[in-house]
Amino acid sequence: MKKLSQKQKQYFLRRRDLHAERRRKSKLRAKLRRLTGEPIPARLVTRDRRGNIEIKLPLPESFSLQDNYEKVMDFVNCLRKYGVQSHFRVYVDFRTLRYIGPSGALLLAAEIDRWRRIRGFKPAVRDLSQWDPVVYLLLEQMGLFDILEVTNLPKSLPIEFADISFIRFRTDQRAMGERVKELRMDLEELAGDVVPAARRLYAGLTEAITNVAHHAYPEDASYTTPPIPGRWWMSGSFEADNRHLTVIFFDQGVGIPYTVPRSHPVEKLRGLLSSLGLADDDASLIRAAMEVGRSQTGLSHRGEGLIKIKGYTDDVENGRLRILSGRGEYIYAPGEPDPKDRERRITHKTSIGGTLIQWEATLPKDGLR
C-alpha cells in the first residue's frame, strides 16, 4: 500500500472531522425535528467557542414592525420555538441588527424576558464589539440589559448619538399605576415638556393593564408558547427633531380576535361587522371591539377600555393609535387630511402572539409648560 504524505494525512483527517461534525449536527437536527415537529435549517445549527452545539438566531437587519413585520415575526417565532418551547442552547446574534424601532424593541425585550424567566437563566452578552453602536446605545437606554440581568456587560460603553431616545422598560403582572406614572415622568424628562393629555394617556394605559389582568390570559386557552400569566411590558420613546412621542404597551396573551367572538353571539358579531362594512378577519375584529365597547364579557359595565385607549388619540396633536393583535393591525389617525387614511386595517401572514398597542403624539413647538 502506498504511504500517505503528511499533506494527504492532514487532508483525510480534516475530512474525517468534517464528516463527524456533519453527522453530529445531522443527529442533533433529527433530534430537534422530533421534538419540534419541524425541520431545523442547517444554517441555524452552529457551535459556540467551547464547542457546544447551539441554535443561532440572527436578528433581521431592520427590527421594525412597521416596515419589516414578517421577518421580525419569523425571528420572534424561532426564539419562541427553540428558546422558550424547547431546551436548546440559543444564541441571539445581535451583530446583524442595524435598526430597531420602539415597538420592535419592546417586543424583543418582552420575548427575551419571557425566555429567561421561563428557562431560569441569565443571558450573556456576546460579540459586543461587533454590534451596531447606535443599536447598542438604544438597547442600553431602554434598559434591556438591566431587565435581563446580563452579567458580563463591559464597563465602558460605546458613545454614539441617535435621532431617537428610548426610555426604560417597565414590566409587571399587576395593575400598578405607579409604573405608568414613572413612564410619564421619564418621558417628560426626556422631552423637557409635559406629556400632552397625560390623564387621558394614564387612563388608556391603566385600562390596557387591567384588560391584561382580566382577559388576556384565560386559563382555558391553549398556548403554543407558554405565557407568563398576567405579565405586560411598557415603554416609550422621544424624537427631539420633530418632538414626536411614542408610548408602547405589549402583552403575550390570546389577543383581541380570540376574545371578541367568545363574548358575543355569532349572529350579533356578524351583524356588527356587516353594518361597519368589515370582513371577518383579525383586523376587523379589533375595530369591532372598539365599536362594541364590550370587548370581552358582554356585560354592560365592562369593556369601555378600548374606547378609553382610543380616546387619547383624539386629544393630541398628530395623534395616532396602532393596535396589533393576532394577525390583525388597526391604525387610527384622526388628524390625517385624507379621510381614507384615518382608519386602516391590515391582515398579516403571522400572528404577533399577543397584543401590542402604540400611541403617538407630537408635542407643540412652543411647549405645553
Partner: protein, 107 residues
C-alpha cells in the same frame, strides 16, 4: 355635616385596576375602604377627583357603579348624598353615567 374624600390624598394618586386582586389601588378597594363607609354615615359626601394621575374606566365603574350594582345604594340616593368635584367636567359626567346606568340587583 359633610365628609370630603380627596382620592389622590386619601387613597392614591395612581389609582388603577378594577378588583382588589388587580392591584393595590383598585376601584373595589377605594369603594370598600373609603366611599361606602363615608356614605353609610348619612353625611353628604364630596369626592374630589383632581390631583391624581388619571382614572381608567374600570376603576371608575367599579368604584362608583359598583355602589349600585352591589345593592348598596340606588342611583337616586347617590345623587342626593354625593357630589363629584373635578375641574374636568367630562370626568364628573363619566362617573355619574356609570352610576345611572349600573344595573341594580333584583330584590
Amino acid at each position: 355635616m359633610r365628609a370630603t374624600i380627596d382620592i389622590a390624598k386619601d387613597f392614591s394618586d395612581v389609582p388603577a385596576g378594577r378588583f382588589v386582586s388587580d392591584g393595590p389601588y383598585s376601584g373595589e378597594a377605594f369603594r370598600e375602604r373609603h366611599l361606602r363607609q363615608a356614605l353609610t354615615t348619612g353625611q353628604k359626601v364630596i369626592v374630589t377627583m383632581d390631583g391624581s394621575e388619571g382614572y381608567g374606566s374600570s376603576f371608575l365603574e367599579e368604584a362608583f357603579g359598583g355602589l349600585v350594582r352591589n345593592g348598596h345604594f340606588s342611583p337616586q340616593e347617590l345623587h342626593d348624598r354625593m357630589e363629584i368635584v373635578s375641574e374636568d367636567q367630562s370626568l364628573v359626567d363619566e362617573v355619574w353615567r356609570y352610576i345611572d346606568t349600573a344595573t341594580q340587583p333584583n330584590h
